[in-house]
């Protein structure tokens, strides 16, 4: 039987909740600490209005991934969370098997809260653990300890979440290879379905960025060793790397995040939220108050023409383990991949990129220097 959903185009929905208990020392994302109740309420109201408006654009689309990102989305009062989810369901055609993810941080959501959002329809939880080491968590400026995480994880399982992702970080202050291994081991023991492991990047406008030389981090070699260790030990535990920083049990890849890498459409709603829709990339201003006041104008807008789409495809798909499929590329763009991006040959020769006759993909050596290689391969106009 052919359903409506099969006929419709697929869409992802991203909803940004920019509130946190405290800002972490490395964080330069759009979020405020201790947003007052009134602002949160107005912000939530704006999200609802905006969802209604955007829904008109999304006619003819079926939404099969929804993602609540932050900030810390679970800081939203449960009533507001319900209202926003309701606005999603009532305005968009959300498929029955849609992946609906909510990010959370330990010690921000009670067992009851988690159980309620599970009932609302959220079926995937992404928990920001970062490290199992108390000293490292403190050094990052996280508000939680290991026990907080363990409680949240167990509460989530009890609430019925059978699809949980855990975020880890490496290359962070006070971390050693041993402590990172320990974090991985303790995480794997809990058997989450998905693990993300990100290398700390020091951004300018953060407390870390301002610390300059006083911030002592594992050096590039140590960070590379940690990455290698991470890939190896997660593989042993049954998690395969499907994207540079993302690891999953079979079939548990993040469908929403895959959209980004596969160049599929998504609408982002909320301050600083980005969209890729109708051949354009656009975003809301990061001004949270403005969004709460109902100012929804896009702050950046870029048409993605064929040339740009080709470049994006290299940049994004090469992040995936499967890489770029040569036949698909040629049939989509009418030019062989190795003709359009001829520089890639150099990196096949050097062993950083592999070509198996079908797909171009980074080798283990290539992944961790992918930015360098991409900047060589890509030609920006």
């Amino acid at each position: 039987m052919i359903t409506d959903a099969d006929m419709k185009k697929s869409l992802g929905l991203y909803i940004h909740i920019p509130f946190c208990k405290r800002k972490c020392l490395y964080c330069d994302f759009c979020s405020v600490a201790g947003g007052n109740e009134e602002l949160v309420e107005r912000y939530a109201a704006s999200l609802k209005t905006c969802l209604t408006q955007y829904a008109k654009m999304a006619e003819g689309y079926a939404v099969d991934t929804v993602y609540f990102g932050g900030g810390t989305p679970t800081l939203l009062p449960i009533g507001l969370m319900g209202e926003i989810l309701d606005a999603c369901f009532s305005n968009f055609d959300i498929t029955r098997d849609a992946e609906i993810t909510c990010e959370t941080n330990p010690a921000t959501a009670s067992a009851e809260y988690l159980s309620t959002i599970r009932k609302f329809g959220i079926n995937r939880l992404s928990i920001g653990l970062q490290s199992m080491m108390e000293n490292e968590l403190r050094a990052l400026g996280r508000i939680h300890g290991r026990e907080d995480f363990l409680r949240t994880f167990s509460d989530a399982r009890k609430a019925g979440f059978d699809n949980i992702s855990v975020d880890l970080m490496y290359g962070i202050p006070e971390q050693t290879m041993e402590s990172f291994k320990d974090t991985i081991e303790k995480t794997v023991k809990l058997s989450p379905e998905h693990i993300s492991a990100y290398c700390l990047k020091v951004e300018e406008n953060t407390p870390f960025g301002r610390m300059g030389d006083k911030l002592i981090l594992p050096d590039d070699d140590e960070a590379s060793d940690m990455y290698e260790e991470c890939v190896k030990s997660l593989a042993r535990a049954g998690y395969s790397r499907y994207e540079i920083s993302n690891f999953a049990r079979e079939g548990r890849e993040s469908k929403h995040n895959l959209r980004y890498w596969l160049g599929r459409e998504y609408l982002g709603i909320g301050a600083a939220a980005h969209s890729y829709f109708g051949g354009e990339r656009f975003a809301f201003s990061p001004n949270i108050t403005a969004f709460a006041n109902g100012e929804f104008s896009a702050c950046e807008r870029e048409k993605i023409d064929t040339e740009e789409r080709m470049r994006e495809q290299v940049m994004l798909r090469m992040r995936l383990q499967i890489g770029v499929n040569a036949d698909e590329f040629e049939s989509e763009f009418g030019i062989p991949f190795e003709t359009r991006f001829s520089e890639i040959k150099r990196f096949i020769d050097s062993g950083h990129v592999a070509f198996d006759g079908k797909n171009y993909r980074f080798t283990d050596e290539g992944f961790f220097v992918s930015s360098y290689i991409l900047s060589e391969i890509l030609d920006f106009s």
Binding site: S224, Y260, A272, M315, F368, S370, S371, Y372, S375, L378
Partner: protein
């Protein structure tokens, strides 16, 4: 007033001093006191025209100005103040400027006493037969020791200083004493206004409207506008458009210039290369029998390759060098190509300061980003075939089996230092292959050291090392000596097995190993990690004498993107790509221009 009467009331003098002893400030005060410049109009230190000179506190090019002074005897005097460059690179120009004078004010800092350049300048003035008038400056400072300095001047230089002016150029105290001393002690110029014309060129500069403006001191004869003149060194003739004198605010025309006067000539001259400092100007119709003594064409002593950081700016660099050359006959350049750096120029300079000045002017006034190779002196090599060649570029250095004897230039250096630093400075000179000549006690606290030093040992960082080992108290002066046989080798560097020509240099055999190791280490620090391991090798001929390795890059990856912000990721990659465009490809290795410079600069260590 007859010409003879006028001559009686002219005084031609210059001010000489060690750097920072207040020469320019004193010049300002003299201008002010003679009302050539109203105080409110006065930009501080008017004689130093270029920004660079102001910043460095030194005078690079000579300038001259006429002051009018009413003396106690009721007569009006014309005082021509001829400024001199204050650095050893410009010694020849200094000597020509002094030859244009009849007297010199020797400024000595009352807190510092006599320094190396004080002595060197005093000797130059004595050589030029000048009447020396000592002036003790900075007497307003609490640490001023006026009597001690008077004593030193008499003892060390041997000229009376009992009644010499003691002033504060900064506050203007006793400035009139200086003017009085100039009139009373500096002799009036001699010279016959009716003899065949002889003018000494002591400076010239290019003006886009007037052509070259030539500064001269008329020694004999009289020059009128409209006369046809001849340069005695090269025989080139010009028709004089204007003659006149230099006021504080510009040129003032006169009908003529005659013996004893200091003034300018314009004659639609296109290049300062035709009006060399020290040359004699005479009349084409009635030439002098022989030129004034002492002319020599200045030769560059230091050579370096100058390349645009952005290869596309090669044409701009050439235009800029040509413009600078209009005003700087000592600057020479010719195109050269480097495998590593592309198209550029091999440039010759009078010395390291001259080189730095040119570099800074190219960067500041012409907005160019440059890569400059290590400075090199000129070596001479007797080939086995009997021919002698001059080498100004290490790339052209013959191979060991072609060389019979190699020669390098040495300098005669004089260092004045407080006694407590003598040991450290002797170690320094020894380390720089110095040959000790003698040591003289100036007084109980200070000595004068004489060394012969290879020029290539002092062109990099010798002056800085000297200052750091003497807490800034030692001073240096040197003059170029002879070429001496030397065991020289050419040191090459290889990145990833490929030789980088721009990094090669010539060094004494004994120094090769340490220098090779140091540069290899510096290369290692400054070459960013590449996708592959990069071996760095230093070699003499085919023999590797030092080795380092830049490990392969392992981490260059973008962190996660939140909320699907692909645009930001793209921008980061684009920025990275932009950054790469500025990189220089040295064989298969990418190096930023900054890193390249960091390797070439050796002055931060020793």
């Amino acid at each position: 007033m007859s010409k003879a009467e006028m001559q009686k009331n002219i005084r031609n003098f210059s001010i000489i001093a060690h750097i920072d002893h207040g020469k320019s400030t004193l010049a300002d005060r003299l201008l002010e006191a003679t009302a050539a410049v109203a105080k409110r109009d006065m930009e501080s230190q008017i004689l130093d025209n270029m920004d660079l000179e102001k910043e460095r506190g030194i005078t690079i090019k000579a300038r001259a100005v006429r002051l009018e002074y009413l003396h106690d005897d009721g007569e009006k005097y014309i005082l021509n103040l001829i400024d001199t460059p204050g650095h050893v690179d410009f010694n020849y120009e200094v000597s020509r400027s002094l030859n244009a004078c009849d007297g010199a004010l020797l400024v000595v800092d009352a807190t510092q006493g006599i320094e190396a350049q004080t002595l060197a300048n005093a000797y130059l003035a004595v050589d030029a037969d000048l009447e020396i008038v000592p002036v003790i400056n900075k007497i307003d400072l609490p640490s001023a020791n006026i009597e001690g300095v008077r004593h030193d001047i008499e003892e060390i230089i041997g000229i009376p200083a009992e009644d010499c002016p003691a002033v504060s150029a900064k506050t203007g105290l006793n400035i009139n004493d200086v003017l009085k001393a100039v009139v009373e002690q500096v002799p009036a110029p001699k010279g016959d206004p009716d003899a065949p014309l002889k003018c000494l060129i002591f400076d010239s500069y290019y003006d886009s409207y007037l052509g070259v403006v030539v500064y001269v001191r008329v020694m004999d004869g009289t020059l009128h506008s409209g006369d046809r003149i001849k340069m005695m060194s090269n025989g080139i003739e010009f028709d004089v458009i204007d003659v006149g004198y230099m006021g504080a605010f510009g040129l003032n025309k006169q009908d003529s210039l005659s013996a004893g006067e200091v003034g300018y000539i314009t004659a639609s001259i296109k290049s300062v290369g035709d009006t060399r400092v020290g040359d004699t100007v005479t009349l084409a119709s009635n030439p002098a029998n022989e030129p004034l003594p002492g002319f020599k064409a200045v030769q560059p002593m230091v050579y370096a390759g100058i390349y645009p950081a952005d290869g596309a700016k090669y044409g701009d660099l050439r235009d800029s060098l040509e413009k600078l050359q209009l005003n700087d006959a000592a600057l020479v350049f010719e195109p050269e190509t480097s495998v590593a750096l592309g198209f550029g120029f091999r440039c010759g300079f009078l010395g390291l300061l001259h080189m730095e000045i040119i570099e800074e002017r190219l960067e500041r006034e012409f907005n160019l980003d440059l890569i400059t190779t290590a400075p090199s002196v000129i070596y001479e090599v007797d080939l086995k075939g009997g021919e002698r060649v001059r080498i100004d570029n290490p790339s052209n250095y013959p191979t060991a089996d072609e060389i019979d004897v190699a020669y390098e230039p040495i300098v005669k250096a004089s260092i004045i230092t407080p006694t407590e630093y003598v040991g450290g400075l002797m170690d320094l000179c020894q380390d720089r292959r110095g040959n000790f000549i003698d040591m003289k006690y100036i007084d109980t606290t200070r000595v004068e050291l004489h060394y012969e030093l290879p020029l290539n040992e002092i062109i990099y960082d010798f002056f800085d090392a000297l200052k750091s080992r003497s807490r800034g108290y030692a001073s240096l002066d040197y003059e170029l000596g002879d070429y001496v046989p030397s065991k020289l080798v050419k040191l090459d560097f290889l990145l990833n097995g490929e030789q980088v020509d721009a990094l090669s240099f010539i060094v004494h055999e004994e120094k090769a190993y340490t220098r090779a190791r140091r540069i290899a280490e510096k290369l290692k620090e400054n070459i960013p990690r590449q996708l592959f391991e990069v071996p760095i090798q230093a070699a003499i001929g085919s023999k590797i004498i030092a080795r380092e390795t830049v490990k392969a890059m392992r981490k260059d990856v973008l962190a996660k993107c939140y909320g699907g912000d692909i645009t930001r990721k793209k921008k980061l990659l684009e920025k990275q790509k932009e950054g790469k465009k500025k990189m220089r490809q040295l064989g298969s290795v990418q190096v930023s221009p900054e890193a390249f410079m960091a390797v070439l600069k050796l002055d931060d260590d020793n």
